[in-house]
């Protein structure tokens, strides 16, 4: 994507690009943290036809929504790139031995042979969770490692 940057003196900075579908999209980053998403008019390409004004919190939530699938996608790409490397999203079952325990307690890389690179909880994604990150039922654990390592993690989160 070819992103064009323009300074807005006294306001902040604006980034623009044209989507594959031909729509011109702009993101206006105010110094206050406010973000405006602008969609440009086809008839008058210099004007916005719609502007979405977002508080810093809303912008962050939206960025996460847009970013989460992207990370999973990147992991998938990584798997294709590095042969022998396996990654999988595994759902934690209620009978699993890891429920209520931290990653270092039940899923240490030194024993399983796979790293936990992310945990998806509801609509939220925790990237690179720390060793004391507590896992709860229905989390999706993203494990990356050798085939055997990921299988070991899969058995643990399934409860067996």
């Amino acid at each position: 994507v070819d992103i064009e940057e323009t300074a807005l003196p006294g306001v902040g900075v604006k980034h623009e690009f044209t989507s594959a579908a031909g729509k011109r999209v702009g993101v206006l980053s105010h110094r206050s943290g406010r973000r405006d998403i602008a969609v440009y008019d086809d008839e008058d390409p210099d004007a916005c036809i719609e502007v979405l004004v977002m508080t810093p919190e809303e912008a962050e939530a939206l960025a996460e929504l847009l970013g989460a699938p992207k990370i999973v996608e990147r992991i998938a790409n990584l798997r294709a790139q590095v042969e022998g490397l396996v990654s999988e999203g595994l759902v934690v079952r209620s009978e699993s031995v890891v429920v209520g325990h931290s990653i270092s307690e039940r899923l240490p890389r030194s024993q399983t042979g796979a790293s936990i690179v992310a945990v998806i909880r509801g609509s939220e994604m925790v990237v690179s969770p720390g060793p004391d990150f507590k896992i709860v039922v229905a989390d999706t654990v993203v494990a990356v490692g050798t085939r055997e390592g990921v299988q070991r993690v899969a058995r643990l989160v399934a409860g067996r």
Binding site: A7, L8, P9, G10, R31, S32
Partner: protein
């Protein structure tokens, strides 16, 4: 008993301004022309002359100018100013030349002296960044592609003001030629030093001033600005420019927080400043300058429109966007009044202040209306063009 009278007068004025501000925002206008009119009503020969609040309003007005320029300076960083100067020098130059010319010609036609003519040129040249950025925000045009051009022109005008005000202050002091040259070069030197220093040491200065406590921050920034403004005034550089330079030198977190805590204070004292300017203008004197004010206003609409059109065309903006850029720039306001205020205290040309008041009242009302109308105008012109050349689409 004395205080009772002061509070009643002051309370009446401030409350009245609140009512006017509400009225202005409900009809989508800038409150500036209404504040000026309020000042006219309270002033010499007005409806309700003030007796005791006058001296407070006079001091408040001076603080208002300092705060107006300080908060404006806080909006920009020195890096922004320098990059803007490089990138938009052409548009900024056209803006100043094309828009100062009508004022200069009018001053000459009216037979005013060179200093009053120069002041009038400044009054017609400089747009109101306050009114314009508010209209752009309200109309949801911040993301528009002509907006960076419009904002850049405003930035360069503000920078030009930092040069113009000390020159005018020096000339108004009516000293010898040598003295004027000294104070003007002093001002330009100070401007250059502050810009260079804040480019290099901006973060350090800002860290030194910053406090996470709003109260401490407010007192520090306000105190520093008044100190610098006072020194600048003492050196005949003009207090306003001193405050502007303080605003420029502060950047980053300290500027963002200071802007938030200072804005309410700025709003209050700026309103007092406009009232004070109106107070000093006799309503009867407006009648005598109405014709030149309206003529200048008409020319001013055209010249700013042309400036915006040319600047937008230069960066490849299509026709409707050029119309938006042109109409956006029309509004004149606080700076024209700041310039006129300087001449008023120096007493060069008594009709200048009345002319400036009438001019600003006209263009502060016409500007936002024109900016709002530019969308339907642009659309209909675009439609007419398409009809005229149907094969193009």
């Amino acid at each position: 008993v004395h205080d009772a009278r002061l509070f009643i007068e002051l309370g009446g004025v401030v409350f009245g301004l609140g009512v006017l501000g509400r009225l202005a925002s409900s009809i989508g206008l800038s409150p500036i022309p209404l504040y000026l009119l309020a000042g006219l009503a309270f002033g010499r020969g007005g409806l309700v002359p003030l007796v005791t609040a006058g001296s407070f309003i006079e001091k408040g007005a001076s603080i208002g100018v300092v705060l107006l320029l300080l908060v404006l300076g806080l909006e920009y960083s020195s890096t922004e100013l320098v990059t803007n100067l490089r990138a938009h020098a052409w548009s900024g130059g056209v803006d100043l030349v094309v828009n100062a010319a009508p004022g200069a010609v009018a001053g000459w036609l009216l037979g005013w002296g060179p200093v009053a003519t120069m002041a009038l040129a400044g009054i017609t040249a400089v747009s109101s960044s306050g009114i314009i950025s508010k209209v752009i925000t309200d109309q949801g045009r911040l993301g528009n592609r002509e907006t960076p051009t419009v904002l850049s022109i405003l930035v360069l005008e503000d920078l030009a003001m930092a040069v113009f005000l000390p020159v005018l202050t020096g000339l108004l002091a009516q000293k010898t030629f040598a003295n004027t040259v000294i104070s003007v070069s002093l001002a330009l030197g100070a401007l250059a030093i502050v810009l260079a220093a804040s480019l290099r040491f901006g973060p350090t200065i800002s860290r030194w001033i910053f406090s996470p406590n709003d109260e401490v921050l407010l007192l520090r920034v306000l105190g520093l600005s008044l100190l610098v403004a006072g020194v600048a005034e003492e050196l005949q550089v003009s207090a306003a420019v001193g405050a502007f330079l303080v605003g420029i030198a502060l950047s980053g977190k300290v500027a963002d927080s200071a802007r938030i805590v200072l804005t309410p204070l700025r709003d209050l004292f700026a309103a007092v400043f406009f009232v004070f300017f109106g107070l000093q203008t006799a309503p009867a004197s407006l009648a005598g300058v109405l014709v030149p004010a309206i003529a200048l206003g008409g020319v001013g609409v055209f010249t700013k429109g042309l400036t915006g059109w040319l600047a937008a065309r230069r960066v490849g903006i299509a026709m409707p966007g050029r119309i938006r850029a042109g109409t956006s720039l029309i509004a004149r306001g606080e700076f024209s009044i700041v310039i006129a205020g300087l001449t008023l205290s120096a007493g060069v040309q008594p009709r200048l202040a009345s002319l400036a008041a009438a001019y600003v009242i006209v263009l502060a009302i016409v500007g936002p209306i024109a900016a709002r109308l530019s969308d339907p105008i642009g659309r209909s012109v675009a439609r007419a063009r398409r009809r005229a050349a149907p094969t193009l689409r």
